[in-house]
């Protein structure tokens, strides 16, 4: 029974990490394309960028909704505390995503496309910024009492560490957005994104290094956990693998390969997630409340796991199918006709 009490929260931690990873990867390129569109030179290019996302942005954003629901059901204490503590960055994200979503629909029918193109880009940027601050704050830690209730203040989330995470996340999105566009576009538009991908790869890498150095330096608790076996071996391997992957990515970009940049980028994201997971685990409200303390009753975890466990492969299946149906380069189709 004790083993079960340990196992169930662990399983849900992994599932939540999976949902978060899928969201950051999939909506990552949506938001990345959005942020890139802000720098794009002309309307036609911007239109093409938006068209490349038309059929999938919605399903991609749904992983965020799913993650919210799963967090609510599996770790209700964490759901309440984290979201209310991070009130401002969460609403920053929400309003950004609202703008991004409606921009897609309204642009199609509007005479003032540039206005909605801007809403699409600015919304994407704002959402990424909010997400970055939220993610950075969670990694840093949230001030709570022993019962897990927030005892900090409204602006705790805003400091140089979370700003660093936010900027790195934005660069990460620009990177994955660029590699997605390399896959889906051709000609001049594709060439542009080889350039943006290279730049973003470098800036993301620098940001990631800074964050990796900063985390154990700043946090005593992280230091003790990460620098003792067995974690120290894994923790040492991750930066090495990271450097290798970034090198492979830059090489594939220089060779102007079409499919591999996205693959390397996804692997880099995956590696980052594993690293973050190791840093955070077993806390869910760092650095005070563990997953065991914040978890719903074991019966609730089993109840949810039964249904959602079955649904995960089904969801993955039809999401992949959706991508297969729309594989290939974006042609200048209208959205929605």
């Amino acid at each position: 029974m004790d083993a079960l009490l340990h196992f169930l929260p662990q399983v849900w931690f992994v599932i939540l990490a999976l949902f978060l990873f899928l969201y950051v990867m999939l909506d990552g390129f949506d938001l990345g394309v959005g942020i890139l569109s802000l720098t794009s030179s002309d309307e036609e290019r911007r239109s093409l960028l938006m068209t490349s996302l038309g059929n999938i942005w919605d399903a991609n954003e749904t992983w965020l909704v799913l993650m919210g629901g799963a967090l609510f059901g599996a770790f209700p204490l964490a759901y309440g505390t984290i979201l209310s503590a991070l009130y401002i960055p969460i609403f920053m994200m929400i309003f950004g995503l609202i703008f991004r979503a409606v921009a897609f629909e309204f642009r199609e029918h509007s005479d003032r496309k540039s206005l909605w193109n801007f809403a699409f880009g600015a919304g994407s940027f704002m959402a990424a910024l909010g997400q970055g601050f939220a993610l950075g704050s969670v990694i840093e830690g949230i001030a709570v009492d022993e019962a897990g209730h927030f005892i900090g203040s409204t602006w705790d989330w805003l400091d140089w560490r979370s700003l660093l995470v936010a900027l790195t996340l934005i660069q990460g999105y620009v990177l994955i957005g660029s590699t997605y566009l390399i896959l889906k576009t051709e000609g001049d538009l594709q060439k542009t994104h080889f350039r943006t991908a290279k730049l973003a790869a470098v800036t993301t890498f620098i940001g990631a290094i800074l964050i990796t150095i900063a985390t154990p330096i700043v946090y005593e608790a992280a230091r003790t956990r990460l620098f003792s076996p067995p974690l120290v071996y894994i923790f040492a391997v991750i930066p090495v693998l990271g450097v290798v992957l970034v090198w492979l990515l830059l090489r594939s970009l220089n060779r102007e390969e079409e499919n591999t940049p996205l693959i390397w980028t996804i692997l880099i994201f995956l590696l980052t997630f594993i690293g973050l997971g190791l840093v955070v685990f077993p806390y869910i409200i760092p650095n005070q409340i563990t997953i065991y303390q914040a978890a719903a009753a074991p019966s609730a975890l089993v109840f949810m796991l039964t249904f959602i466990g079955v649904l995960i492969p089904i969801m993955l299946f039809y999401n992949i199918y959706n991508y297969i149906v729309f594989r290939g380069k974006v042609v200048g189709d209208g959205y929605g006709e």
């Binding site: 919605d58 799963a70 059901g73 759901y79 979201l83 979503a101 509007s110 959706n322 189709d333």
Partner: protein, 480 residues
Amino acid sequence: MDLLSNTVALSRMQFALTAIFHMLWPVLTTGMAIYLVIVEGLWLKTRNPDYYRHARFWSKLYVLNFGVGVASGLPMEFQFGTNWAPFSEAVGDFFGSILGFEGAMAFMLEAGFLGIMLFGWGRVHPVIHYFATIMVAFGANLSTFWILVANSWLQSPSGGEMVNGKFIVSDYFQAIANPFMVRSVSHMFFATLETSLFVIGGISAWYILNNRHQAFFSQSLKIVLAAAIAVTPLQIYIGHLSAEQVAHYQPTKLAAMEAKWETSPAGQPADWSLLALPDESGQQNKWEITIPNGLGYILEFKRNLSEPVRGLKEWAPSDRPRMVGLIYYSFRIMSGIGFFLAGLMLWSVLQWLLGNLSPAKIGQQTRLLRTWIFAAPLGYIAVESGWIVRCVGRQPWTLYGQIRTADAASHLPASNVLTSLSLFAVIYSILFVSTLYFGSRIIRHGPNLELPIPGLDDQSAIETEPATFVPDQRPVEAQQ
């Protein structure tokens, strides 16, 4: 002003605003998705190109509506955590799970297949496309199911009990099958269907009245009218069944719905209030128009009440809903619209039977068509009024009888909530106006009747293999 520094009140207003705005959109996507399944099915069965064009036309409105629905739905998923953290912690085991199911089972299904439904024509086999449309409709309505399961549980909690401020679940399936669930899910399902029918009907009537594509839109008008024959009376009946449950499980809400201050004892008839002006501080109605002995008939279809109907004065003001007038009139508006739409259905069916909806005559039915156009927004008004009754009438409880709203809210600086509330008010106003504007543009532009029909107009069916050469084998004489 006291209100501006009251976090609980501001969080309540924000939830009300975001919920009311969000509710506008899924109401149409759920019902219209079913309509799209019907039309695409008719297209596959009869190969009549008009059905294909209907599917393509109404999908345009669908996707506009869906986008705003998704955009406004996101805040709902997170708002329990941001503004109602103590509540989330207390009920997360069950309530959070159900919201997780809604996301995984319903919303993801809809979003996952929507791309194919909208953009997959010609890219996938027609049967697969139809499957996608069915999945979109199924996913959308499954969302209705799970959200109503969750809300019904708030109204009539079951499957466990409160222990030290947290709801401990003992039976998850009993919690899902809580007393309100079946009737509430049904009532909402038919509400979304009915609203969609009259929106489609109203838009169709507009085209017919304006002499545009009359034959085309007569088809859609007749489809929705046929469905309305079953839906409108059924919804009134299910509404009655829902009210029955409110009477039994939520007497405070019933008292507010009826602006009833004094208890009416069992075994006797009681008057039914038609119109009134409630005076909350005086705990009475300043004036009232009543139907003598009507309450028994409305509630139980008989003269004498079998159970007492309790009046608001039985409870302390802190234990019963406020804003009695709002609840009272919202209920009347909702029911009134239900009867009105049923009446419109009857009038239309009569005209249909008299042959006045034939292609030759339908354009002349100006009064009827105008009424359909007038009826188009009524479903929305009814749905919102109903939700106001349901949620405002549940106060002071968030979890009825167990958790008070005042205890459920996050402890946040009021200025935070005031800011987010104001932003929602401004942004949602812009979105509302824009959506109406763009929607009307789609309608004015009209359907594209030149759209090539997949499978008929494309060339993929033409044989492209080179013919095999077969030497002429006929006897020489026949070749002359």
